[in-house]
């Protein structure tokens, strides 16, 4: 088991080194940072001096090493546009995105699994068929359109929920949270539905098909022959067996909830890292883009490492094999 985890950690580090390389090469290949930093009025001496000062005259490998060294310590440099350290800006923005992602992730998993099990058990029921058809909409409508439709319905027409922003937030020692105020919670509803809808339908359809497969297995039949009730069979025996493939997908999807919050954040003007990234692209604010890229890849890799370890928790056969 330990060697299995070590192997996975090793692979994760390799992935991070490669994304780090991509992030770093943006500095070198997307425009010249010196051009960005010094204005129109500059002398060749200024350029040379700054190049030396920033270590840009060093070989590529040395520069990459320094970049990694700084990145590990949380130092991603200074934003071209705002003139503040990138780490500081990210820390300020991260709570908004993480809270949004957490709420929509929980919604997607809870409703996805519950509806998946329901539609599998009542395979031929009317409600199950309606849900299955409706889920097609969730998969096929683009996120921004869902967001706009929700805003139109609940903010413009009904006026129940705010159409943009986080509402009032409370600062808890550097972490600004929207969970503690009514307006903060209300502001979370529409964006988190928009963000989680696609993942929810995906999880639901996956749980359903896995569940149908498991319900055909001999051990389910044998459980029936032992006289166990349907509830125990469905939720204890069958559901656990569907979890291995479902967790794989949930892992990947949670990563993409954070990564692709960009669109939702744009539609709802949500002050998170996604919106920050979009603005950074508009102004070619490369330190911010690089840091964002690193942040997302760390999250992806971390979540998937967790998923691999969870497998062994669920399936005892993997524990012995590993």
């Amino acid at each position: 088991m330990l060697s299995f985890i070590l192997k996975r950690v090793g692979q994760s580090i390799l992935v991070l080194l490669i994304t780090g390389l991509v992030a770093f090469s943006m500095f070198t290949f997307v425009g010249d940072p010196i051009d960005n930093m010094l204005g129109q009025e500059r002398t060749m001496e200024d350029v040379e001096r700054l190049r030396e000062q920033l270590g840009l005259d060093q070989p590529f490998v040395v520069q990459y090493y320094r970049f990694l060294e700084q990145a590990v310590q949380g130092n991603f440099g200074v934003s071209y546009r705002q003139g503040r350290p990138v780490a500081e800006i990210l820390l300020e923005r991260a709570p908004a995105t993480l809270e949004l992602a957490a709420v929509s992730g929980v919604l997607a998993i809870a409703f996805g699994i519950a509806l998946g099990v329901f539609t599998a058990i009542r395979r031929n029921g009317i409600a199950a068929n309606v849900i299955m058809s409706a889920s097609l909409i969730g998969v096929s409508l683009p996120t921004f359109l869902i967001g706009i439709l929700l805003i139109y319905l609940f903010s413009v027409e009904l006026g129940w929920l705010p159409s943009f922003g986080r509402g009032e937030t409370v600062d808890l020692g550097g972490w600004t949270t929207g969970f503690l105020t009514v307006s903060g919670l209300k502001a979370l509803i529409l964006p988190s539905i928009t963000l989680g809808l696609y993942q929810m339908t995906l999880i639901m359809r996956l749980v359903r098909s896995e569940m149908l497969e498991v319900l055909r297995q001999d051990y389910v039949r044998f459980a029936k022959a032992r006289g166990l009730s349907d509830r125990v069979i469905n939720f204890r025996h069958a559901l656990k067996n569907t979890m291995v493939p479902v967790i794989t997908v949930i892992g990947l999807q949670l990563g993409s909830i954070i990564a692709f919050a960009i669109i939702t954040e744009t539609v709802f003007q949500w002050p998170g890292v996604g919106l920050l990234f979009i603005n950074a692209i508009q102004f070619v604010d490369i330190p911010v883009m690089a840091a964002y890229l690193m942040l997302i890849s760390v999250m992806f890799v971390g979540i998937n490492l967790l998923v691999d370890i969870l497998y062994a928790f669920i399936d005892p056969r993997l524990r012995v094999a590993a």
Binding site: R221, F222, A225, G227, S229, N241, I314
Partner: protein, 573 residues
């Protein structure tokens, strides 16, 4: 005479289909008394399992009980509602399924599954339920029950799992157990142990047992009463000795005649002639086109020397800390040109691994394989391709060895195209010819595997194997998934192939009577080692090793039949 615990009266099950009502079980009646074992025998589709399912209330809709009554301990149970039927299941009637590998939930410990069932039926608290669970494991003779309690199903062998399944069935002292082919998936030695256990339970706890099987040997060995079913109906029933000794119905007679005997070697397998569904196998046509120009010089076609295979059993980062399991340990034998060489042994003895190494499906870890004087283990890529063309394999499970998404025509055409044996334009004609010769209908090539029965699928496998005109055929348990009647057909086809085409065969089986009929020489494997190689007759009459003797003793036999009666039956059949 004691009152029956279970009584089935004129039971009819029907399934509405587009073409009207289909009746898989029609007008079946039998009784089970306490402590009695009733065998229900017949080919697949005869309705024997369906009857068991109807009794325990697990008919899959749209199948339903159309007529008849089922009485359990003086109470009529066929009309109970779903919830009341569920309460009887596992408590008063328990069930044992065929495949112990799949009837336990892999994600829960054996103990958790036992405790769950015990608590459900007996309402004990956790500690008492655990005590009873360990007691049950002990009673089905699982060693170290306390330790085993916390283990998962995959940590048990097939036979041990079937014991766990029996323990689960016994949780609340049921009065009837329906055992649906409980030993079909098990080895001879494990089968004998499980059957002994069932006999003991019936005797000591006075449980009535319905034993559904297609194995006449098991029936003869285990049951008190027997019911013979054919296409949903009971054709004959009565005391086992009487039915097997003096069968009245034609179907029973031919079924008994079709059982392979370990005592004598016959030229052909007697087939179940009843019902007239024998299909023709046009061996002469096939022989006419067969390219037999190549025969080996030395008379020995395949030589295996010191063959070894190890599998990684415990992985580790450091190579020195890895642990290996030796599946095949220094095995040597040779197979003469035109010979059928048998390999027998329990599952896990390494016989299939040997076959897979010869077929190049597993890389060889040690030793060498020589085919027709050329060392396969030293061949280059082209040599291997040529070698593969001459060696074909027929697998055990005709359901999983054919790609369900490919038409039968494409399946048979694949080896022809892969080995570039024929120009594309001629492939279609050859495929149809091959399918015709193994006795499949003329439109078979357009259909898909699921449209065929088990026996027909195994014919497709044979057609596929013959497509490259191989010299050497590996048959890995080719009939163990099939009924007696279909088994006889397939084995006769294989015999014909050997006789008319001079094919050399490696025949792997755990069914000793079949081996006796098929093979010229037999090797016995145990735990990766070859313990004995002998001429078939000599092996059965005068085994050299203790292990072979043990295996032969465990064979279920049709002792009720004397040789003369059997000879008489054969003439009628």
């Amino acid at each position: 005479m004691t009152e029956p615990v279970l009584s089935i009266r004129n039971l009819t099950v029907d399934i509405p289909t587009r073409r009207g009502l289909f009746k898989p079980v029609e007008n079946v009646s039998y009784d089970i008394r306490p402590g009695e074992i009733r065998g229900v025998v017949g080919e697949s589709g005869a309705g024997k399992s369906m009857t068991g399912n109807a009794v325990i209330g697990l008919l899959d809709p749209p199948a339903r009980i159309a007529e008849g009554e089922i009485w359990l301990n003086g109470r009529r149970i066929d009309q109970l509602d779903a919830e009341e039927k569920r309460k009887i299941r596992g408590k008063e009637i328990a069930m044992i399924f065929q495949d112990p590998l799949t009837s336990l939930n892999p994600l829960f410990t054996v103990g958790a599954q036992l405790v769950e069932t015990i608590q459900l039926h007996l309402g004990l608290n956790q500690a008492d339920a655990k005590k009873r669970a360990i007691d049950l494991l002990d009673r089905v003779r699982i060693p170290n029950p306390e330790e085993r309690f916390d283990q998962y199903p995959h940590q048990f062998s097939g036979g041990m799992r079937q014991r766990v399944v029996i323990a689960l069935a016994l949780c609340s002292e049921p009065s009837v157990i329906v055992a649906d082919e409980p030993t079909t998936a098990l080895d001879v030695s494990v089968q004998a142990q499980v059957l002994d256990l069932i006999k003991e339970l019936a005797r000591e706890r006075q449980v009535g047992v319905i034993l559904v099987t297609h194995d006449m040997g098991v029936i003869a060995d285990t049951t008190d009463q027997v019911t013979v079913m054919y296409s949903g109906r009971v054709v004959e029933q009565g005391a086992t000795a009487q039915i097997l000794g003096a069968p009245q119905h034609e179907y029973t007679k031919s079924l008994i005649a079709a059982v392979p005997r370990p005592q004598v070697k016959l030229h052909r397998f007697p087939q179940v002639s009843y019902g007239g569904r024998e299909t023709t196998f046009k061996i002469e046509d096939l022989a006419r086109n067969w390219d037999r120009s190549t025969t080996s010089q030395s008379g020995t076609l395949l030589q295996v020397e010191g063959l070894t295979k190890r599998f990684l059993s415990k992985g580790a980062l450091l190579p020195s800390r890895r642990e290996y399991f030796t599946a095949v340990d220094n095995v040597s034998f040779d197979i003469k040109d035109g010979e059928v060489f048998g390999l027998v042994g329990e599952s896990g003895s390494g016989k299939s691994t040997v076959a897979r190494m010869i077929a190049t499906l597993y890389p060889v870890d040690g030793g060498k394989i020589t085919f027709d004087g050329e060392e396969m283990t030293a061949m280059d890529k082209e040599g291997i391709a040529r070698y593969r063309r001459q060696i074909q394999m027929i697998f055990q499970d005709p359901y999983s060895s054919l790609n369900p998404r490919m038409s039968v025509g494409d399946i048979v055409a694949e080896p022809l195209i892969h080995h570039k044996i024929l120009p594309r334009a001629e492939v279609g004609a050859r495929v149809r010819e091959l399918l015709d010769r193994v006795g499949l209908a003329s439109d078979a090539h357009r259909k898909y595997p699921h449209e065929f029965s088990g026996g027909q699928r195994q014919r497709i496998s044979i057609a596929r194997a013959l497509a490259t005109q191989p010299r050497f055929l590996i048959c890995d348990e080719p009939t163990s998934a099939l009924d007696v009647s279909i088994q006889a057909q397939i084995l006769n086809i294989l015999k014909d192939l050997q006789e008319y085409l001079g094919l050399t065969m490696l025949f792997i089986s755990h069914d000793l009577p079949v081996v006796r009929q098929m093979c010229d020489r037999v090797g016995v494997m145990r735990q990766g080692k070859l313990v004995e190689v002998q001429e078939t007759g000599a092996l059965f009459e005068n085994p050299q090793s203790d292990y072979t003797r043990e295996l032969l003793d465990l064979m279920p036999r049709l002792e009720q039949l004397s040789e003369e009666e059997f000879a008489g039956l054969r003439e009628q059949g």
